[in-house]
Every structure is written in C-alpha cells, then in structure tokens.
Amino acid sequence: MTLQEIITYALVAVAVAYLIKKYFFKKKKKGNCADDDCGCH
C-alpha cells in the first residue's frame, strides 16, 4: 500500500468517524445558534 493510499483511507475513516460522532454522539451545546457550529447544518 502506498503512502497516498494510507493517507486517503485514514481520511475516509476520519470522515466516517466525524459524521457518526456528530449525529449519534452529540455533545450538549451551550450558547446560541449561528454563533458557531450549532449543529443545524
């Protein structure tokens, strides 16, 4: 496996983990929407 392939598959894994974390393990949010990432997009 080449270095490019390793980095690519790692990025795919990070992307999957990010979406799972965002939608299934959502942390409680403080503050108002639109001030930062409010999870509405």
Binding site: V12, A15, K30, N32, C33, A34, D35, D37, C38
Partner: protein
Amino acid sequence: MATRTIKISLIGNPNTGKTSVFNQLTGLNQQVGNYPGITVERKQGSVRLPGNTKGVILDLPGTYSLNASSMDENVVIELLLNRNDKDFPDVAVVVTDVENLKRNLLLFTQIKDLEIPAILVINMADRMERKGISLNIPLLEERLKTKIALVSSRKGTGITKLKELITEYASLSTEPCLNASSIDPEYFGRLRNAFPNQLLYKLWLVITQDVNFGQLERNEIEDSFTKSKSELKRLQQKETIKRYQFINDTLKQGMTVDTAKAKDLRAKLDRILTHKIFGYLIFFAILLVIFQSIFAWSSVPMDLIDEGFTWLSSYTSNNLPPGKLTELIAEGIIPGIGGVVIFIPQIAFLFFFISILEESGYMSRVVFLMDRIMKRFGLSGKSVVPLISGTACAIPAIMAARNIENWRERLITILVTPFTTCSARLPVYAILISLIIPQRTVWGIFNLQGLTLMLLYLLGFLGAIGAAIILNKILKTKFKSFFVAEMPNYKMPLAKNVGITVVEKTKAFVYGAGKIILAISIIIWFLGSHGPGDKMERAEQIITEQYGNSLGEDKLKDAIASYKLENSYIGHIGKSIEPAIRPLGYDWKIGIAIVTSFAAREVFVGTLATIYTIGSGADDEATIKERMKQETNPETGQKVFNFATGISLLLFYAFAMQCMSTLAVTKKETNSWKWPAIQLFSMSIFAYLVSLIAYQLLK
C-alpha cells in the same frame, strides 16, 4: 496579583438594546435584533474591568417582569431566586430604554426587592435630545436607591462609567424599592413569621411562580400559604399597581419630556408600515427587492468562485503526483468544498437584508402585521417569531417557540416551522433555478429567477400555514395565547452590527455546513471510486472491448468513468433506490444526493458536484452548473435537469423534512420521538406526492 472576578447578570425588557450593551462590554460578536425572543438562551462573555478585575457577564433572556409566563422568562427567575446557583450574580445590570423608562422600571424594582445589588443602565441616551427628554440622575439614583449609567450602546458612550460602577458594586445599596408587606400586611406577616430567615419578596415570587429554589421547596410553602388562583392574581395586580405608583412618583420628579421637541415621525411611519393594506404591499415590495438583489448581485462572484474551484480541481489533478490522495483531493474534496463556498455571496446578501430589517426596527412591524394573519389560521401571534426566524435556520426558530405559553400552540408552531424556507435550502434553490429558469426580465424590471425564488419562499410560508390549519383541526386548540409586543424605535442600521451579523451568519454556514459537506464528499468519493468485484479494475478493458475504436479519446474516457461510477458502491446504492424516485423524474445520482442531503440540505449540491466530477473525464474543466446542465439520461438521451425534474426537485426540497438536526431539536423540545417521527413522515410523504404530481404533469 490575583485577578478578582465579578459575576454579572445582564437583565432587561426585550428591545432595550440589552444585546448591544452586552456587545459593547464584551466585544463578543453576536447578533443584535429587535423582535422579542431573540435571546432564547443565555449568552456569556467576559469583560476587563478597572483595577485588575474581570467580569463574567450572563446575557439573560429579555423579560418584562419577574412574573414568568414563558420558558425563557423562567430562566431569569430561577437564576435570581437561587443564591446557590453557580451563576447567581454578584451584581445585576438592568438595561432600560430611555423612551420606555416607565415600563422598564417595573422589572428593575422587582430585582431591587430581591436585595441583589443592581445597577440601572438607561440606554439609548443619544435619543434624549431629539425626543426632548431630560433626566435628573442624582434624584433618580436617590429614589431608586441605585447607581445609574447613562449609556448609548449604539454610539458606545457611557460604557466606561458602567464598567466603573460594576467594579464598585459592593457599595451599592440593597435596600428594596417596595415594602412587600404592603401588598397584603396580614398575609405577608404570617409568611414572615413562618420563614423568618427568608426574604419576603422571594417567598412571594416562589408562591406565585412555578419554580423552586435552593433548599426551600415550593410544596413546603404551599401547604399553609396556598391561596386561590384568583386571589393570587388579585394580589399580583395590587403589587403591580403599587410598583407603578412608585415609578410614576419617581419619574414625575426625575424625568421631564418636552413634547414640543418630540417629533412624531415614528407614529406616522407606523401608520403606513402596519396599515392593513399598504403594510402588506410594502412588505411584499421589500421581499421582491431582496430576492431580486440576491440573484442579480451575487451572480458575478458566484461565477468567479465556481470557475476558481473548477480550475483548482483540474490544476490539482494535473500537477500533483498521481495516486489515490490526488484523486480524493481533485475529485472529492475540492468539488465538495466548492459546492459550499459558491453560495457565500447569496447567503451574505440574504443576511445583509435580514439584518437591516431587524436593525431598523421594521422586522417588529412585520411581526405585528403577520400576527393578524396568524390568528386566522389557529396559530399564536407569537408563532410569527419562529416562522420568520426560520428563514435563517429552523433550529433556533423552534427553540424560539418556547415563548408560546400554550402547549398546543407551541407544538403546532414547532411542527410547522420547518416548512419555512431556511438558508440551507437557498443553495439547492439557487442552482436548480439557474438551471431551469431562464435569466429573463419580466414586466420590464423583474428578474424571472428572482421572482421564482420569492415564490418558493412564499410557498414555504403557505406550507406552514396549511399544515397549521390541519394540525389545529386535529389537535383542537381550545386556548389561545396573546401576542404582546412593543414596537422598537426606528433606527438607522449600524454598519458595524449589520457587518457582524453578515460575517457571523456566513461563517456559521461555511464552517457548520462545510465540515459535514467535506466529510460527506470524502465518503462519496470513496464510495464512488471503489466497488464490489473486479469491474472497477477492469473498466478500461471492458469498455475498450465493447466500443473498440469507435469512440474518440475523450468520449472513451467519459464512458470508462461513467462505467466505473455505475459499478461503484455508490452506483449500487443509487440503483437500488432508483425505482422509488424514478416516478419523480430523478435518476440514481440525484437519489444519492437526496439521501446524503438528509444530513443537511445544502449537501445536495456538493454531493452532485463530487459524483459528476468522478463520473467525468479527469481533464474535464466544466463548472458544477455546466456539469449539471450537460448531464443526460443514457437511456432517453434527454437532459436530466429539465424543467419537469427541476420543478419536481424544487417542490421536494420545499416540503421535505431533510434535516436531521431539526428532528433532533423537535425531539428535545417536545420530549418525545412521536412528534419528530410525525414531522418526518408527514412532510416527506407530502413532498413525495407533490413532486410526483408536478413531474407527471410537466414531463
């Protein structure tokens, strides 16, 4: 030397410029608005004060009094009644508007009676001269037993004095303004004897509110001090009258208004802008101008961004060393990000206009105007706030429904708010409109694309009203809440506030949506570049064998890319859902975009950009729009994005519940999975049917 920290609560009626004072003190970038309910949750910031002191400021929701009638007003009361709360303030900064001082002081006197050190901020001091108002500050300070900061949050004056007063809060008097016993001496006498260590006015608030505090539970008091609801109401009214008597006496001596100086432009403007015919016509005209401008002004920067990303994708592909990572960057990441960035001009213009309407005070007039319509359809007047703020995002809009006291009216508002056209729909609308609606001028001045966009916004609003009518019949609302809102003064919008809103909202869109779109683009690229079996690896061989030399080099490349995409994981997924969406005029690629955009609607464009980039020759330099325009159905040879499919898609996105976060918030606000499930299925089925009918009629 150790830094001293002071806990400060910023309290005030809605529309007193509380958020502007907060901005001036903390320098935090936040939205400044005019209509009630804008501060739904608490905001926190810090301020550097004189004498190595740090202030931690809580911007509490706007409330008219300490007699709570909604959830966000309860936040204020629960904090002020609970000295054990970690946020309980060392000092309360009560913000008032110099033109509405009489009404604003009611809340101030209540806070004083809780014996919390309180500073009175009289805001909008810059308007005093114009309105012929003069104040005797020393006398007011003496009568109200406080220190006063005369502030103009718009011009930034008086903030230094306010900071000094906060630093010296320990010297503030905690003497109450009203003797609580005078409300009902006999009753309050018994109360004092039963709870000698508790503050009398605090006990009274606990009895009259639905809140607990500290170790003193409500039940404990209720047993021996319960009064009938009507009796409690009578005593509350008596308290309010006594407070206004005190405030009137105070202002009679401490405030003079030269009516000859006070210009009545506001009343004249109100008569026109809230007129039952002209009011709606003016609002309609303003909307028309906004949507025209969104299309007309943003087309040039959008085209530049689109071309820029296309060039970048092509450059990356040609200049980086060949390999998987280069393919991911050129075919996945860059087109995906381009699908977000391209909409920055339109989002920025939308919030530029919304911010001007809010800043100028016009939005409150719109709320008042719409209230007349709302009532006819069984919604609360207060539903207007969530429905209008839903044009930005349904999440805070649904949370703003906390203002509605009646549960059923609140529930209906929560369920119908996602129909309102949010900013996430804008990218989808914009690209589809530009594909299927010609850029033509109608009636001499109107841009047809702008008119279509406006029509879609109205359609969203009508969808909400229609759903409310049905829900009102099903849920049978018996009780109505009433919408009481004050009209803030007309103001020239401050460029700084408008700028902050535009930057913050655009940033939230780019960073919020951008991260998801980036992640989805990477996954889509992976699923589109890999597939089961060996068909992907043998694609070149299979296509070459099939076509031989009958295709030119470019067409052969396209055919190989297309074959690979069809046999990739995403191709298989898309093909499996295609039968369900084919009657709506969509192919499997659009189906994939619909599935991924369930995370967030704006992902639709990014997903298509990635799919079409994978499915085209590597040196293809077409923009997202051009690729969508060129896409043809291999079976029929017709354009995929034709008028019928475009309208069907526009209607689908207008009505479908394509937002996971909105469903999560509905669950949170209704405390049940039942309502988000109803919201999801009813909206999706309705969207499907409407799109199906539209496509079948137009094809």
